[in-house]
């Protein structure tokens, strides 16, 4: 795949030739960039799939249909199926409030929404252990001598409702690490679109819900889809935060990334890469969908500017 430099901005040959580099410099820059990308991007990507199939297709299929692998896949899907819709509803609500209304403290709210991105995954897990662990608020409440709402403490103890080292903890950690994705896509988009269309719909007699469903939603659907895709990829692939809260019980609280770690730590490298290839495929599908949505969105914008 030798990259060949052609004229700068092919559509307008010669237009900016006085402000472009000599062919030698161009080739050098493309060569340096491609070498860097090959070393850090393409090689690892190819390596995953080669290693996954190194022991043959039979071993590959056997590893990914192993009961432990299947239970990890199921758990990962459940966690994502709860976390992604919740963050989606939150993202739409936050974007509606922030983009369509003026209020004080908007910038602080925007910064707080971004907060989970700047917290290390390990700390994201830690905070839920501190709240819901045996020594945390939840544990102290369940073991208190005179808890407020004794019926609730009794019910929790009778049914042994565990949050840490169980499904709820995994879901909470997943929600936390994917918290800003949808909101972050929608807020700038809805701010740029303004409120005139919705106001017109209201004045013409549409109800609030009709306004949202028929005016806002069609305008934001690509942005929403984009956010959901990124949110889902992170939800299914989260490792650090989930590994703190899951307890890593094989077949019960292991998600796909944790199952990969378990296989790798047992020196079953081909097995680890076989399961990893599923997540690598998910990453490629995510990138493909993302590119497609970006393309659709660009086409939509072009149509609008023409009209």
């Amino acid at each position: 795949m030798t990259p060949v430099a052609t004229t700068f901005h092919g559509a307008r040959p010669g237009h900016r030739r006085t402000t472009s580099e000599s062919p030698a410099v161009r080739r050098l820059l493309i060569g340096v960039a491609m070498a860097f990308l090959c070393l850090f991007l393409f090689l690892p990507l190819i390596f995953v799939f080669v290693q996954a199939l190194v022991k043959g297709l039979g071993f590959y299929l056997h590893t990914i249909t192993d009961p432990l692998a299947l239970s990890a896949i199921k758990l990962t899907f459940i966690a994502a199926a709860i976390a992604v819709p919740l963050n989606c509803v939150f993202g739409v609500c936050a974007a509606w409030a922030i983009a369509k209304f003026d209020f004080r403290g908007k910038n602080i709210l925007l910064t707080l929404i971004d907060l989970p991105f700047s917290v290390s995954p390990v700390i994201s897990g830690l905070i839920y252990v501190l709240v819901f662990g045996a020594q945390g608020w939840y544990g102290l409440y369940r073991n208190a001598d005179n808890p407020t709402f004794p019926w609730l403490a009794n019910w929790l103890n009778d049914h042994n409702v565990n949050i840490i080292f169980a499904l709820p903890g995994i879901v909470l950690a997943t929600i936390f690490v994917t918290f800003p994705f949808v909101a972050r896509e929608l807020i700038p988009l809805m701010q740029a679109q303004g409120r005139a269309e919705e106001e017109a719909a209201r004045v013409l007699g549409a109800s609030g819900w009709q306004t949202f469903a028929r005016v806002t939603l069609p305008n934001i659907k690509w942005g929403l889809l984009y956010g959901v895709i990124l949110c889902n990829a992170r939800a299914m692939g989260e490792f650090g935060a989930v590994s703190v809260v899951s307890g890593k019980i094989q077949g019960r609280t292991n998600t796909i990334p944790l199952h990969i770690e378990a296989l790798y730590d047992n020196y079953n490298f081909a097995g680890a890469f076989a399961v990893a290839s599923l997540l690598a495929l998910l990453a490629l599908v995510t990138l493909g969908l993302k590119t497609w949505v970006e393309y659709k969105n660009a086409a939509l914008n072009q149509d609008e500017s023409k009209a």
């Binding site: 430099a5 960039a33 090689l43 509803v89 700390i123 990829a233 490792f239 944790l258 990893a276």
Partner: protein, 283 residues
């Protein structure tokens, strides 16, 4: 009075302000703010001396040095190569450009555990790259260099994606003007183009740096996690958690959180600067 009614009317045209803002604040509080406050609640159970003793213990100090040093170097390398990648993606046409453009985001989309085992195997003694580098005396797996390699991988898209749109929007007339006034290509780049891209480059650098500081999954497999040598700070926190020493783990987490928040503030200021820079360019 007149202003007051006007404002009231504005709110009334579109419904759902109280509902959506209410839900936003409730969800934010429940998922993010209350759990995060638990960190500070837990730390307050330590005396100041205990806290200081924990956050300055030798394993923690060594991990800060490694985490900050490797993150800084990785962000620096990414700033250099990421800038070139952004440049060729915006300015040149070459075979496979669209594919490369889409794949730049791979480190965002690829789960960190997958990246971790892949890099660890690639650079291990028998790996594709490891068996070429080992005879040269370069060891990557289980060394500090391995931490740097993993952090470079995960930080790669940040610089490209912050510089790319700004470079795309640059007005060609500025370059033409500089060229017509007799500047050579290097002078145009260094005196005209580069200063306009500096805020974006710094933003990308800060984002890559911040992401690298907290990174866990892609590092632990390649680093080997040898105390005082290749343990990054999140691994030290994880070690304390595995021993159920929550107070110690939390104390070190507070140090990391404070640094991250300061960086987040810095990124916001940089972004504000970038935006202002661009609006003045347009005007």
């Amino acid at each position: 009075m007149a202003l007051n009614t006007k404002r009231r009317k504005k709110i009334r045209v579109l419904p759902g302000f109280k509902l959506t803002l209410g839900f936003t604040l409730f969800y934010l509080g429940l998922i993010v703010l209350i759990p995060l406050s638990a960190v500070f609640w837990k730390t307050s159970s330590l005396t100041w001396q205990d806290f200081w003793h924990t956050v300055t213990m030798p394993t923690a100090m060594a991990s800060y040095r490694l985490t900050f040093g490797a993150s800084f170097l990785a962000a620096l390398i990414n700033a250099f190569f990421g800038f070139i990648v952004a440049w060729i993606l915006v300015r040149y046409d070459f075979f496979g450009k669209k594919l490369v453009d889409a794949l730049v985001d791979l480190p965002f989309a690829l789960p960190t555990a997958v990246a971790g085992i892949t890099l660890a195997s690639l650079y291990s003694k028998n790996g594709w790259l490891g068996h070429c580098l080992e005879p040269l005396g370069i060891k990557v797996a289980n060394t500090q260099l391995g931490v740097f390699v993993a952090l470079t991988f995960i930080g790669l898209p940040f610089i490209v994606r912050t510089v790319q749109p700004i470079l795309d929007d640059l007005d060609p007339e500025l370059e033409e003007a500089a060229a017509s006034l007799g500047a050579n290509r290097w002078q145009v780049f260094w005196r005209v183009i580069f200063p306009m891209l500096t805020p974006a480059l710094l933003t990308g650098f800060a984002m890559a740096f911040a992401r690298a500081l907290g990174e866990y999954g892609s590092v632990i497999f390649i680093a080997g996690n040898i105390p005082l040598k290749t343990q990054i700070t999140p691994v030290v926190i994880m070690g304390e958690l595995d021993m159920f020493d929550y107070a110690k783990a939390t104390a070190i987490a507070v140090v990391m959180l404070v640094v991250s928040f300061v960086l987040l503030l810095g990124v916001n200021v940089l972004q504000w600067w970038t935006n202002r820079h661009n609006t003045t360019n347009l005007a």
